[in-house]
C-alpha cells in the first residue's frame, strides 16, 4: 500500500489537475501525435508487447491485491476475467496488427472508370478513455489495446471508486508504456470535468447513463465522436423444457460469479412461467448452496459491494415495501463487511423500485408470466438492455427471440459468455450505449476509415463537363445507371 508521503504527493497532484493542466496535457499529446510517433507498426507493436509484459506473472499478485482491496474480488475472478482475457486480447492484437493496419482494396465500378480505390485505416489522434469501477483493470486496458493498435495517443481516466486499481494502473502504465503518448490521469468529478472540457478526437466511456449524457454533451461541443458502453436491465428468460441444473449454474455464473452481480452483463432479472418458477427457485437454491456454502456472507468466493453508497442503494431496493414477503432465498446483509448474500425474490411487482433501475448487485428478482411468449412484451416495454438471455430448447422460440428482442448482444442457453469472444462486437443499443469494441472492433472504434480513390488521366469522359448537351445527357444516364448495353446504345444514339 502507499506510504503516507506517497498519499500526500498523490493528493497534491490531484489538486493541481484543473482545466489548465488538462489543456496542457492535450496540447502535449497532440504535438507528439503530430510528430507521427504513434503511427508506425513498430511503436504500436512495442506498446502492445509492453502491455503483455505488464500482464505477466510479475505483477499478477499486485493486480489481484488491488482488486481485492477495491472489491474483495476473489483472486480467481481477477485472474480469469481481468488478466487472462486481457492477455488474450493483447496476443490477438499483436498477431493481427499488420493485417488490421493494411488498407482494404475495394472494387470500383464503371462510374469511376478507370480508377483504383482503397480504404485506409488511420488513427483519430488523441483519445480519452474513461473506465468503470467494477472491472477496473479490464475496462481500462481493453479499450487501450484498441486505441494503441489503431495508432492513437491516449489519456486514461480510471474510476476513483476503485482507488487501489487506479493507483496501480497509473504506476504500471507509467512504468511500461511510452509516457510521451500514453498517460493516466487519476481523480474524480473535478478531474473528469477538466478533461471533458478539452477537444478530443474520440471519447470512450464505460459507465452509467447519467454520466454518459454529460460525456456526450461535452463531446458535442467539439463534435467529438463517442463510444458509450453502458448498462441496463439484462433479462434472462427461462423456459421449462431445459436442462435445469445446467441452466441454473450458468445463470449463477453470470450473476454472482461476476463480481457478485455488479457487472453490466449480469442477468438482472429472470422471467419464467408461474408454473415453472418454483422449480427454478429450488434449483437456484440448491446450486447456490453448493457454490457458496450455507453461510454465503462468509464465502471467499464472492466480491463485496463496492462501497457504502452502493450498499445503501441496494438496501433501499430490498427494503421497498412492495417487496415484503417476496424474498425466497438469502437477503442477509453485513454492513461492516459491505456484504449482501445472493438473494432471490419471487413475483416481484413490475412497478417496484427494483424493477425500475439496473440492480447491479446480488439481488435476483423473478417475474412470472402465464405464457412464456409474454416475456417478450415485458422486455420490450423497457429500454434496450446491454444483453438478453434465453434458456430454451424450443427452436421457434429461439428464432422469435433473436428477431424480436433488441439488445446489445443475445445469448441463447447461457449468460455473459459473448464478452469473451473477440469476433463478436461488444456494445449496446439505445439506452445501453453507442458503438462497440473487442477484437478488430476495438481497432475500428479508434480508427478513421479514409476513402482513397486513385484516378488516371486517361479515359477522361468529356460527358462530365460542360457545355452540357443532350448527347452527354444520354451517355451520362447510361454510364451512371446502365450496363454495357445501355452505354453502347447511348453511344450509337439509340436511346
Amino acid at each position: 500500500m502507499l506510504s503516507s508521503t506517497e498519499v500526500h504527493e498523490k493528493q497534491n497532484k490531484k489538486e493541481s489537475f484543473n482545466a489548465e493542466a488538462a489543456s496542457l496535457l492535450v496540447k502535449n499529446l497532440t504535438a507528439t501525435f503530430a510528430s507521427g510517433k504513434t503511427r508506425s507498426y513498430e511503436w504500436r507493436a512495442s506498446q502492445l508487447k509492453a502491455l503483455t509484459k505488464l500482464l505477466s506473472d510479475a505483477h499478477e499478485q499486485q493486480i489481484v491485491d488491488a482488486l481485492y482491496s477495491d472489491l474483495s474480488k476473489p483472486p480467481l475472478e481477477t485472474v480469469a476475467y481481468e488478466i487472462a482475457m486481457l492477455k488474450n486480447s493483447c496476443k490477438g492484437a499483436l498477431k493481427e496488427l499488420k493485417r488490421w493496419m493494411t488498407s482494404e482494396k475495394v472494387k470500383t465500378s464503371i462510374s469511376t472508370f478507370p480508377s483504383t480505390a482503397e480504404i485506409v485505416s488511420e488513427p483519430l489522434g488523441v483519445v480519452l478513455i474513461i473506465s468503470a469501477w467494477n472491472y477496473p483493470f479490464l475496462l481500462s486496458l481493453e479499450p487501450i489495446i484498441g486505441a494503441i493498435a489503431a495508432g492513437n495517443a491516449v489519456v486514461l481516466k480510471p474510476s476513483e471508486v476503485a482507488p487501489a486499481t487506479s493507483s496501480l494502473l497509473a504506476k504500471l502504465l507509467g512504468e511500461y508504456l511510452d509516457n510521451s503518448c500514453i498517460r493516466v490521469v487519476e481523480g474524480a468529478v473535478d478531474e473528469t470535468s477538466a478533461l471533458l472540457q478539452q477537444k478530443w478526437d474520440k471519447i470512450f466511456y464505460t459507465g452509467n447513463g447519467r454520466v454518459a449524457r454529460i460525456v456526450m454533451a461535452a463531446a458535442a461541443k467539439h463534435l467529438t465522436p463517442v463510444v458509450l458502453e453502458l448498462g441496463g436491465k439484462s433479462p434472462a428468460v427461462v423456459d421449462s423444457n431445459i436442462d435445469l441444473k445446467v441452466a441454473t449454474r450458468r445463470i449463477i455464473a453470470g450473476k454472482w460469479c461476476c463480481n457478485n452481480g455488479q457487472a453490466c452483463i449480469s442477468p438482472d432479472y429472470i422471467i419464467t412461467t408461474k408454473d415453472y418458477a418454483p422449480k427454478l427457485v429450488d434449483a437456484l437454491k440448491t446450486e447456490l448452496e453448493k457454490f457458496y456454502g450455507k453461510n454465503p456472507l462468509e464465502s471467499k468466493d464472492l466480491s463485496r459491494i463496492v462501497n457504502s453508497n452502493h450498499f445503501g442503494r441496494l438496501t433501499k431496493l430490498l427494503d421497498d415495501e412492495k417487496l415484503s414477503g417476496k424474498i425466497v432465498f438469502g437477503g442477509e446483509k453485513d454492513e461492516s463487511k459491505l456484504m449482501i448474500s445472493p438473494t432471490i425474490l419471487l413475483d416481484v411487482p413490475r412497478n417496484s423500485l427494483m424493477m425500475r433501475e439496473e440492480i447491479f448487485g446480488p439481488l435476483l428478482p423473478i417475474i412470472t408470466v402465464d405464457k412464456l411468449e409474454e416475456s417478450f412484451d415485458v422486455i420490450n416495454s423497457g429500454t434496450k438492455p446491454l444483453a438478453a438471455y434465453l434458456f430454451t430448447t424450443n427452436n421457434k422460440l429461439k428464432e422469435q427471440f433473436v428477431m424480436n428482442i433488441s439488445a446489445g448482444g443475445l445469448v441463447i442457453n447461457d449468460t455473459a459468455l459473448h464478452l469473451a469472444i473477440n469476433t463478436l462486437p461488444f456494445g449496446g443499443v439505445g439506452e445501453s450505449g453507442i458503438g462497440a469494441y473487442h477484437g478488430k472492433f476495438s481497432f475500428d472504434a479508434f480508427s478513421h476509415k479514409k476513402a482513397v480513390l486513385y484516378r488516371s488521366f486517361f479515359g477522361d469522359a468529356a460527358i462530365r463537363y460542360p457545355p452540357y448537351t443532350n448527347t452527354k445527357m444520354r451517355l451520362l444516364k447510361a454510364l451512371i445507371g446502365g450496363g454495357l448495353l445501355g452505354i453502347i446504345r447511348a453511344l450509337f444514339g439509340l436511346s
Binding site: G36, R39, D57, Q61, Y68, S69, P74, P75, L76, V79, A80, A84, K87, N88, V106, S109, S111, S115, A117, V120, A212, R213, M216, A217, A219, A220, L223, D243, R249, R250, A253, G293, K300, N307, S406, G409, L410, V411, I412, D414, H418, T423, L424, V429, G430, K449, K450, A451, V452, L453, R455, F457, P466, P467, Y468, M473, L476, K477, I480, G481
Partner: protein, 506 residues
C-alpha cells in the same frame, strides 16, 4: 405557417407502427426502395425544374449529381438487400464454449434525417435509402432554403411510399427545434458544424447516436505534372478541367466536397492562369448565367456573404485576377479566381461555398503537405500529382474524410467507398452498404447447447479450477487436456487472503 401541433402524435404513431414489425420485412423494404426509384424515374422533369428554380442548376448537372446517382444507389440497394440483411457468422476459436456466434443487423427504430439545400434530392434520399433498406421508420426534413425541391418531396413523394412509416415534413429552424425535442433512435444530419453541434447536444439528452456530415475547406494541390514523355500539356489540361468542374460545375461551388482552394508552386502560376481562363470560357461559355452551365447562389444571404468575402477586404479584392462580378438581381456570381489572398482573411479561414477560387502559391509543392496538415481536417483532399513520393506523403501525413488523386468529387459516386468526414468535417459514413450499416444495430448473437459445460467455470474455487480457467482463456486446448490428466503442473499457489495484511479502507 405550418401547424406542427400533431407532430408529437404523428411521431408516436410512427413508433407504434415500427413496433408492429412491418418495416423489418424484406418485402416491405424492397417495395419502398422500388417506389423511390419509380418516383425518380416518373418525376425526373419535375425534379429538374425544381432544381432549376431553387438553384439554377442545369438539367445535366442535376442528373449527373442527383437523379443519376440516386438511381444507381437504388439499383444497388435493391439488388443487395437480401445480402445486407443476412447475418454474418462470427469465427470462433476451436476451444470456444459456444456452439455458434453471428452478427445480426437490425433496424434502430425511428430515425430522423436532416438534409441540406445544395443537393436537396441527393442529400435527402441517399440517407433515406439506407434507413429504409435497414428497416427503419423515417422522418425526413429537407431544407427550407430549397423550397421548390422540398415541396416536391413533401407533396409528391409520400404518395409513392408507406406514409405510416415514412414522413417528409417541410419547415425552418423552429420545426428543426421541435423535431429535436422528440425521441429518436438515430439522427442523420448534413449541414454546417454550427448546427451539427446543436443537433448532437440535443441527441446527447437521449443518448441518441448521430451521423454528422459536415464540411470544411477541401483543398486541391496541383503539381506541375511533368513526365518523361512530352505529355505534360495534355495532363495539365485534364487536371484543369477536373478542377474547374469540381468548383464551378458543382452547384457553383456550393458543395461540401467542392474544391475550396488550390495550392500550386509559385513558378507555375504564369502557366496556369491562362489555361484556367481558356477553359472557363470553353466549358461554361460566354454567357454562363443564361446557359445555366453554372448554378445560382441559393439566396440573398449567401450571395451577400460571398460578396463580402471579396469586397470587405481590400487585399482580397486586389488578389482577384479572373472574374469578380456580382449580379445581385439574378443571384449570379461569375467564375472568380484569386491569387494569394491573405491567409488570415475570411476567404481563407471560412468554408467558401461559392464560385470563388483562391490559388495559394507555395515555394515547393511538397509544402502543401504542411499547409494542409496545419488546418482542420476537411471532408476531402484532392491531389493532382503523379509524383509517387508526394502521393505517399499525402496519404500518410494528412487526414480527411476522403483523399482523391488526380480528380475531384468523383468519390461521391463510388459505392464501395465510405463517404463521411473526420474531425471538424464530421463523423459517421454512408453510401452503398455503409448507408445500410449506419442505420443498423449490429447485434451479437451467441448460442450454446446444454452439452459441454466446463465445471471449472463455477465456484467453489480451487487451484485446479484456476489452472483450467487460465489455459481455457488462453485457448490452449492441449494445455487443458494436460491439466485435466494431471500432467501439467503450475507455478501457481492459491493465495489465501487471510494470510495477507490488507489495509481495507471502506
Amino acid at each position: 405557417m405550418e401547424n406542427y401541433s400533431s407532430l408529437e402524435r404523428d411521431v408516436r404513431d410512427m413508433r407504434a407502427y415500427f413496433g408492429t414489425g412491418k418495416t423489418k420485412e424484406a418485402t416491405w423494404r424492397e417495395s419502398q426502395l422500388k417506389a423511390l426509384r419509380k418516383f425518380l424515374l416518373e418525376n425526373e422533369d419535375h425534379i429538374f425544374k425544381a432544381l432549376n428554380n431553387d438553384l439554377g442548376k442545369h438539367q445535366v448537372e442535376a442528373f449527373r449529381d442527383e437523379v443519376g446517382t440516386l438511381v444507381k444507389t437504388l439499383n444497388l440497394a435493391i439488388k443487395s438487400l437480401k445480402q445486407w440483411m443476412a447475418g454474418k457468422e462470427a469465427k470462433l476459436p476451436r476451444i470456444a464454449l459456444l456452439s455458434s456466434a453471428e452478427i445480426v443487423p437490425e433496424p434502430l427504430g425511428l430515425v430522423l434525417i436532416f438534409s441540406s439545400w445544395n443537393f436537396p434530392f441527393g442529400l435527402s434520399l441517399e440517407p433515406l435509402i439506407g434507413a429504409v433498406a435497414a428497416g427503419n421508420s423515417v422522418v425526413l426534413k429537407p431544407s427550407e432554403m430549397s423550397p421548390a425541391c422540398s415541396s416536391l418531396l413533401t407533396s409528391v413523394l409520400p404518395s409513392y411510399l408507406d406514409s405510416n412509416a415514412i414522413m417528409i415534413i417541410q419547415g425552418g429552424p423552429s420545426l428543426g427545434e421541435l423535431l429535436l425535442k422528440q425521441t429518436w433512435d438515430k439522427i442523420f444530419f448534413t449541414g454546417s458544424a454550427r448546427v451539427g453541434k446543436i443537433v448532437m447536444s440535443a441527441a446527447a439528452e437521449n443518448l441518441t447516436p448521430v451521423s454528422l456530415e459536415l464540411g470544411g475547406k477541401c483543398p486541391a494541390l496541383l503539381d506541375s505534372l511533368t513526365s518523361s514523355w512530352d505529355r505534360e500539356v495534355l495532363l495539365l489540361k485534364v487536371a484543369v478541367k477536373r478542377i474547374l468542374v469540381a468548383k464551378y460545375g458543382a452547384c457553383a461551388g456550393q458543395a461540401c466536397i467542392a474544391i475550396d482552394y488550390v495550392l500550386v508552386e509559385n513558378s507555375f502560376i504564369s502557366t496556369l492562369l491562362p489555361l484556367l481562363k481558356v477553359w472557363i470560357k470553353k466549358m461554361f461559355g460566354e454567357n454562363p448565367k443564361g446557359s445555366n452551365s453554372i448554378a445560382r447562389i441559393v439566396n440573398k444571404q449567401h450571395f451577400l456573404r460571398l460578396k463580402s468575402l471579396i469586397n470587405d477586404d481590400p487585399k482580397v479584392k486586389e488578389s482577384v485576377v479572373i472574374g469578380g462580378s456580382f449580379d445581385e438581381d439574378n443571384l449570379f456570381i461569375e467564375p472568380t479566381i484569386l491569387v494569394d489572398p491573405p491567409l488570415d482573411s475570411a476567404i481563407m479561414t471560412e468554408e467558401i461555398f461559392g464560385p470563388l477560387l483562391p490559388i495559394i502559391t507555395v515555394e515547393k509543392i511538397e509544402d502543401s503537405v504542411g499547409f494542409i496538415k496545419s488546418r482542420p481536417k476537411p471532408l476531402a483532399i484532392y491531389a493532382f500529382t503523379k509524383n509517387k513520393s508526394l502521393q505517399k506523403r499525402m496519404l500518410d501525413e494528412t487526414s480527411s474524410g476522403s483523399l482523391v488523386f488526380n480528380d475531384a468529387i468523383l468519390q461521391y459516386v463510388a459505392d464501395t467507398l465510405p463517404f463521411g468526414g473526420v474531425g471538424e468535417s464530421g463523423f459517421g459514413k454512408y453510401h452503398g452498404k455503409f448507408s445500410f450499416d449506419t442505420f443498423s444495430h449490429h447485434k451479437a448473437v451467441a448460442r450454446r447447447s446444454y452439452y459441454t459445460d466446463f465445471w471449472f467455470r463455477f465456484p467453489p474455487w480451487t487451484l485446479n479450477k484456476l489452472q483450467l480457467l487460465e489455459v481455457a482463456y488462453n485457448l490452449d486446448y492441449i494445455g487443458m487436456l494436460l491439466v485435466i490428466l494431471g500432467l501439467k503442473g503450475s507455478k501457481r499457489r492459491l493465495i489465501n487472503q487471510d494470510e495477507k495484511l490488507h489495509d481495507k479502507q471502506f
